[in-house]
Amino acid sequence: MMKKVIIYKGFERFWHWAQAALILFLMLTGFEIHSSYSFFGFENAVIFHNIAAVVLVALVIVAIFWHFATGEWKQYLPTFKNFRAQVNFYLFGIFRNAPHPHKKRLLSKLNPLQRLVYLGLKILVIPVMVISGLLYMYYRYPFRGGLKTIGLDGLEVVAVLHTVGAIMLVAFLVVHLYLITTGHTPTSNLNAMITGYEEIEDDGDEI
């Protein structure tokens, strides 16, 4: 029996879409700063990128508090239960229209692969981007009418790390966008992230 429940709360959806928009915008402006193309013009790209970065950091801070305040952070605890089954599903089962090995639950929205990837984003990619980004912005900064620097030898390490992170995020985005279509129906995941509601199997357990 299927049951319609709110799987993504209002804040979660706001957080997800705001973050999505900001990261897309940061990609657009960031790769322009990287001189991959010209669109806004270098100066505007830098200004917009810096503003969007500050907003994103603010959003991330709020989201971190939200996750700890609501206990939702536990969703990202890695588990290897069903890990192999999940891999098998994406590699084989999905083509045979096999059922999802992971049963979505309110307390366990993410399958083992998602847990691992999102945890990686949260503890590796995002921190690398935020820290290298802040160093990029503040390795010299105004201080009491003058300028201070934090004595970096140069931007190279910071910039290359920031680029590596950006590349990982683009690759993530490609796969993430595709995996949206792998729910019960090709649009059920997207619908869930827009409306919050998803039909999940009610097999009598507490969902």
């Binding site: 270098f42 709020v62 083509f95 105004p142 300028l147 931007l155 290359v160 683009v170």
Partner: protein, 524 residues
């Protein structure tokens, strides 16, 4: 947010945001441009009318009598002058690898008219003194100080050509003496605009057009802008002036800089202010020099000496009135609206000292500006690089100081007799350096930092002028990572592969899904 703990945490998050917001607020410019605009233009009102002073009445027979009259009231000023660079043409400086040196126009060379040795009669027209015609000049005789060249505001005073600093004989010294005051742009320019033998030859950013110009050419000196005079920035105390030229200077002291008036953080955008840690103001704000009249960019001495059919020296002039060939000097390339080259500079420099051996496998630097990215004292500055081919001793591997100037033929000066061998021998003899008798030509370059002809802010460089992959203004400075110009090619290629592989992966996956689904008979 029904949970009180979460409300508290949310407030905490907002507080953090506030702190973060404080970090990104704009700094206030420390010096207000409007205040500067009020301060300038300023007319200096003299407290003394020198035409009323008894000491300056009557006729002056000799220019040194004017100097005596000056010192009769300004009783200590001559002592300051005797210690000044305008008088000594040398400075004490420590140069790494050389130790303490005493160098300046007196004993250094350039790649224009080479140097003063044996040519004092002509070159030393611009010495702030009288009678330095050879190396027996007595630098302790204060009577020979030329006060008027800097302080005559009547514009009647002119130093004579080939007169070793003496004024032209028909100058009315009384009018000049009674018309003294603060040096005007014209006073400074009478030498500094015409160095190298003509207007704007050497500097490229100092020329006669600055006397009467517009803000497009120079925001400070433009008559429709600051109306500033040289001495408004180049302030002097006890005849020691701020600012120096690293064609002949070596040490990082007594420099003039923009920050003195504009402060260390003059922009409203902090990202621009942050640039000032590594980039000198001039780099962005002087996008080009020689804005009005052309400047010499290349000088080839090796073509000199061709005479016309009557055996007379020739002069070939281009359509803009610039010499492109002179029998006495060789051929020249002049350029207008020149984009500077850019170099790291920490305020110290080295020079070619006469007698130094040269490495002719490369272009010989006549002066070297020290600096690099990793040196916190270094900033990127704009430079006019003057390139030349000039005479050197190919047995001794030394650059030759030739004798160029003489009053008449037969004295061995190149400009009269057109014989390089004799000119080289006499020149080297005069400065006490050996000459082997073999002369050749060598390519040299000389760095002239560009500091004037500051453009209006809207004409300053924009980000893309440097932050661009190819052919940016700073393409030659490769010792640091610059966003927009530099990238790690390996990372970029690997990144592209990863992204394309992800795309290929999901596309393949999707295709198999579609194929499998249609084999099952459509539906899902």
């Amino acid at each position: 947010m029904r949970n009180p703990v979460s409300v508290l945490l949310f407030i905490g998050a907002l507080l953090l945001l506030l702190i973060f917001g404080r970090m990104v607020t704009k700094p206030e410019p420390t010096y207000d441009l409007e205040l500067l605009k009020e301060r300038y233009p300023s007319q200096h009102v003299a407290s003394v009318d020198h035409s009323k002073l008894p000491a300056l009445q009557g006729k002056f027979d000799k220019p040194s009598d004017v100097t005596r009259a000056c010192v009769s009231c300004h009783t200590e000023r001559h002592k300051e002058l005797l210690e000044s660079t305008h008088w000594k043409w040398e400075r004490e400086a420590y140069i790494p690898g050389r130790g303490v040196t005493y160098a300046g126009k007196k004993n250094l060379i350039n790649n224009f008219c080479i140097g003063i040795g044996s040519n004092e009669q002509s070159c030393n027209r611009c010495h702030a003194g009288y009678g330095w015609e050879d190396n027996s000049f007595d630098f302790s005789k204060w009577e020979n100080i030329d006060c008027l060249v800097c302080h005559d505001n009547s514009a009647v005073y002119v130093k004579g050509i080939g007169m070793a600093g003496y004024p032209e004989p028909d100058v009315d010294l009384s009018i000049a003496a009674q018309g003294v005051g603060l040096p005007t742009t014209w006073n400074c320019g009478s030498c500094h605009f015409f160095s190298g033998g003509g207007n704007n030859v050497k500097h490229g950013d100092l020329e006669v057009a600055l006397v009467q110009t517009t803000r497009d050419v120079d925001v400070h000196m433009g008559q429709d802008a600051g109306q500033m005079q040289c001495v408004d920035c180049h302030e002097a105390e006890n005849h020691k002036m701020l600012g120096k030229m690293y064609s002949v200077s070596s040490s990082n002291e007594g420099r003039m800089n923009c920050e003195k008036c504009h402060g260390p953080v003059p922009h409203e955008t902090s990202i621009l202010n942050e640039h000032s840690v590594k980039v000198a103001c001039q780099t962005c704000h002087i996008p080009e020099f020689a804005k009005v009249n052309a400047t010499k960019m290349h000088w080839d001495w090796s073509t000199a000496g061709k005479l016309d059919e009557n055996g007379e020296p020739m002069e070939i002039v281009d359509e803009n009135g610039n010499d492109t060939y002179l029998s006495i000097k060789g051929s020249f390339v002049w350029k207008k609206h020149v984009q500077p080259e850019y170099q790291w500079f920490n305020g110290t420099a080295d020079h070619y000292f006469l007698g130094d051996k040269v490495d002719t496998t490369q272009v010989i630097p006549i002066n070297t500006l020290f600096g690099e990215y990793s040196d916190p004292a270094s900033k990127i500055i704009p430079v006019k690089v003057h390139r030349a081919r000039q005479i050197y001793d190919c047995s001794n591997n030394t650059i030759i100081q030739p004798r160029l100037y003489a009053v008449s033929k037969g004295e061995g000066a190149y400009w009269k007799d057109f014989d390089w061998d004799i000119a080289a021998r006499l020149g080297m003899e005069a400065i006490g350096e050996p000459y082997s008798g073999n002369f050749c030509w060598v390519d040299t370059k000389m760095n002239w930092p560009v500091n004037h002809m500051v453009s209006p802010a809207d004409k300053a460089l924009s980000c893309e002028d440097c932050h661009t992959r190819e052919d940016g203004r700073l393409a030659a400075l490769t010792d640091f990572y610059m966003p927009g110009r530099d990238r790690n090619k390996t990372i970029d290629v690997l990144g592209l592969i990863i992204i394309l592989a992800s795309l290929a992966g999901v596309l393949t996956h999707a295709l198999i899904r579609i194929a499998a689904s249609s084999r099952r008979g459509g539906g899902k």
